[in-house]
C-alpha cells in the first residue's frame, strides 16, 4: 500500500507526518528545530516541487510513504486521488492523508515567509514554534492513519 501525506507546500506538516509514520522522529517528545531540519525535504522545497510526489521511505509493514505539496487544491484532493486510483483499477492501493487540518496559523505564516517569500531567518523560528504547537495533532493524525492502514490490510 502507498501512503501519501499532502499539505500546501509538501515541506512541513506532510514531511513531519511522514517522518513520524516512518519513525524518523520520536513521537514521545517535542522535536527541536535542528531535529526537524535534519528530516529530508523539511523546509527545503521550492516552487518547482509543487505537485511532485516525493518518496520518504518504507514503514515496518512494507507500506511506501510519500509526501506531496498540492498548493491550494484543497480538501477535495483525497477524493480526487481515490477517484483516479479507482480509474486505474487500484482503489485500495493508495491512502491519501490531508495534513492541512492539523496546521496552525504560525506554521502557515512561517512556512509562507520561509518558502514563498524567501525570508528564511524570519520565517523559520515562527515555523518551528508553530510546528511544535501542532506536533501532537500530527502525531494523532499519523496514529489514525496507521490504524486505517492496518484495518485495510486486514480486510484485503
Amino acid at each position: 500500500m502507498k501512503i501519501l501525506y499532502h499539505c500546501f507546500g509538501g515541506s512541513h506538516s506532510s514531511v513531519l507526518a511522514a517522518s513520524l509514520h516512518l519513525g524518523l522522529i520520536s513521537k514521545e517528545r517535542l522535536p527541536t528545530m535542528q531535529e526537524m531540519m535534519a528530516l529530508p525535504y523539511f523546509d527545503k522545497t521550492s516552487q518547482k516541487d509543487f505537485g511532485s510526489i516525493r518518496f520518504m521511505g518504507v514503514d515496518e509493514g512494507g507500506n511506501e510513504v510519500y509526501v506531496l505539496g498540492k498548493k491550494s487544491l484543497g480538501d477535495r484532493y483525497n477524493r480526487i486521488f481515490k477517484g483516479v486510483a479507482a480509474l486505474l483499477g487500484k482503489p485500495d492501493e493508495i491512502v491519501p492523508v490531508d495534513c492541512m487540518s492539523r496546521v496552525n496559523i504560525s506554521m502557515k505564516l512561517g512556512g509562507f515567509a520561509s518558502r514563498r517569500v524567501g525570508w528564511v531567518r524570519l520565517g523559520r523560528p515562527v515555523l518551528g514554534q508553530g510546528t511544535r504547537k501542532a506536533f501532537l495533532n500530527l502525531v494523532n493524525l499519523v496514529e489514525i492513519t496507521r490504524v486505517q492502514v492496518m484495518n485495510k490490510l486486514q480486510v484485503n
Binding site: I53, K70, K71, S72, L73, R76, Y77, G83, L88
Partner: protein, 147 residues
C-alpha cells in the same frame, strides 16, 4: 486506455472536450451536454465518466480547482506510483481565458439562480474559445492514433 481531461472545473471546458473526443457533441448546444454547469458533479471530486470513444477508450472530465498544472503533475505522479503509464491513462489539461470565472460560477448557490448565471456566462466563454478546445481535442486524437 482512459483519457482524462483536466481543468479548473470538471463540468465546463473539460466536459465539452470529453464530449467532443467521444463524438457525442453534435448539436452545438452546450446545454444538451449531460452535467454541463452542474456543480454537484464537480464537488464530489470523482472523475466524471462521459463515454467510450469509437476505439473503446473511456473518456472522463475532472475539475481540480485553480492549480491545474499542479493537479496534472500530481495525477501523473500517482499514475506512475501505481505502476501505470500513459498507455493506461492520458491526462490532458485545458487552459482557457475565463476558466477561473467558470470555476467561481460553480460557487454561486442554486437558490440565488447560480445554475442559470453559470450556464449563461459559461456558454459565452466556451463558445468564444470553442475552436481552441476543438483543436486540442483533434491534436490529442491524432497523438493517440500515432501511438
Amino acid at each position: 486506455m482512459k483519457v482524462l481531461f483536466l481543468g479548473t472545473s470538471g463540468v465546463h471546458h473539460p466536459l465539452v472536450a470529453a464530449n467532443l473526443f467521444t463524438g457525442r457533441f453534435l448539436s452545438h448546444d452546450l446545454r444538451m451536454i449531460k452535467g454541463f454547469c452542474d456543480s454537484y458533479y464537480d464537488e464530489s471530486g470523482d472523475p466524471i465518466y462521459v463515454a467510450e470513444d469509437s476505439s473503446g477508450n473511456e473518456v472522463y472530465a475532472l475539475g481540480v480547482g485553480s492549480e491545474v498544472e499542479v493537479g496534472q503533475r500530481s495525477i501523473e505522479g500517482l499514475r506512475e506510483l501505481l505502476g501505470c503509464t500513459s498507455q493506461d491513462l492520458v491526462v490532458k489539461s485545458i487552459f482557457l481565458p475565463g476558466e477561473k470565472v467558470m470555476y467561481y460560477m460553480n460557487k454561486i448557490p442554486k437558490s440565488l439562480g447560480g445554475k442559470h448565471i453559470n450556464m449563461f456566462v459559461s456558454n459565452i466563454i466556451i463558445k468564444r474559445n470553442f475552436k481552441q478546445i476543438k483543436k486540442l481535442v483533434d491534436d490529442l486524437q491524432a497523438e493517440i492514433l500515432v501511438h
